[in-house]
Symmetry: C2
Subunit: 215 residues, 2 copies
DNA sequence: TGTACATCAGTGAACGCGCGTTCACTGATGTAC
DNA sequence: TGTACATCAGTGAACGCGCGTTCACTGATGTAC
């Protein structure tokens, strides 16, 4: 958190109202999804007029970008904290599920259907890389005597994006697999595709994690 | 396909215009996503007035429902055909990827972020069950000497949704895993989360499939 | 401490837009005798 | 084969709505001397 004591009262007030706007935006997203996000509706709920919000955000797009950034930031922080707790890969994995269940719409804002025409700014992809780095670290730390897979040899020649990480190809492959498998369970669960089936999605998630930890 | 010769010319015309409306709807979805689907815009592109569409659909919701139904139907047919070709689980798996890449927005309409407030009609969930049945069949046909997993024992008591299928618990578990893992790779790929990484998503998909077929 | 000025949050009116949907209607197509 | 009628596709006007965004403005808060 930035030091608020170095800010003038006006700056502090600005930051506070900005935060309040974002909170209302999240509430609205949680209710009606990201595509229904409306500046006027937020303003009305805050007891302000619509144009007032333009003092705080250049427009709707900037607000959404800010929300996406915050979501990624929140995930990266959660990941880092979970990894620091020392439970290996299981830590971030369980943290991911908790983070997703805590606010499904936030999860979908990041990992769901892409908004047509919207491109995330560059710094956001940087934060995304942070989360990947946490998984990579955890995978590199796992003991592994599996032979390098055929995808592993492919990734060896296409891993500039993971440069700076000393992870061997098998670990890079495993990191990608962690990501896709956990996301696969989570996104289908959150989208309601398991409703009507009586099993517990948490156990399916746990089973996938076990399989990933095996060996 | 239904026999068009039993229809009157008027009925044939109706069916044709309905189909044309849907085609334009798909084009619009492919361009701007499902949330941007607009009856007026479709009508304009067809050279008709907006209200004319109400001769063919009760409203926007009915049109979307129809599109969702068609998408599921198309997937189920694709699956069944692929399964009939006799390549085992690999058939439907590759068919799924081809189907998804063929029209990513159709894939997201079915498996993407749920539209808030929208609930698919019952017959659609029935078609979804058809696709699951294809996977179940393929998994049951796989030779398996794996011990029943702990999730397998859990699913044994929660598999009413898969009743009518003689698949053993391990096969049911595997079927769910097939679904979540393939979806995990596909949805991240289609949402653009692999852009910037240079590896070939097709190979990652193939690696996941290999892992599922192993044993 | 008091005064003059600059900064800035917030308002209300307005613009132009596209949306879904209804309604009364015209005109063409099909049907029955 | 011709005429009277019913069906139905499609139109244009209208309703009410909410959206993002701009603009000129008021009034309060902070700053400089």
């Amino acid at each position: 958190m930035t030091d608020t004591r170095t800010k003038t009262p006006r700056e502090r007030y600005r930051a506070q109202v900005r935060a309040e706007i974002k909170e209302h935006a999240w509430e609205q997203i949680a209710t009606a999804g990201a595509s229904a996000l409306s500046l006027n509706a937020i303003a009305k709920r805050m007891g302000m007029s619509g144009p007032a919000l333009y003092r705080y955000f250049a427009g709707r797009d900037e607000l959404i970008t800010e929300l996406v950034r915050d979501a990624y930031r929140s995930l990266a922080d959660t990941f880092r904290a979970a990894a620091g707790a020392g439970a290996g890969l299981a830590g971030p994995a369980h943290a991911l599920r908790a983070w997703a269940l805590d606010d499904p719409h936030r999860y979908f804002l990041v990992f769901g259907t892409p908004v047509p025409g919207y491109r995330a700014p560059d710094d956001v992809t940087g934060i995304a890389a942070e989360t990947m780095a946490v998984i990579l670290d955890a995978c590199a730390a796992l003991p592994s005597d599996r032979p390098t897979t055929s995808f592993g040899t492919h990734i060896e020649g296409h891993r500039q994006w993971a440069d700076g990480h000393p992870a061997p190809p098998a670990a890079v492959h495993r990191a990608l697999t962690v990501w896709t498998r956990l996301h696969g369970v989570l996104s289908l669960e959150l989208a309601g595709h398991f409703t009507g089936m009586e099993f517990d999605p948490a156990l399916l998630y746990a089973a996938e994690l076990d399989d990933l930890l095996e060996r």
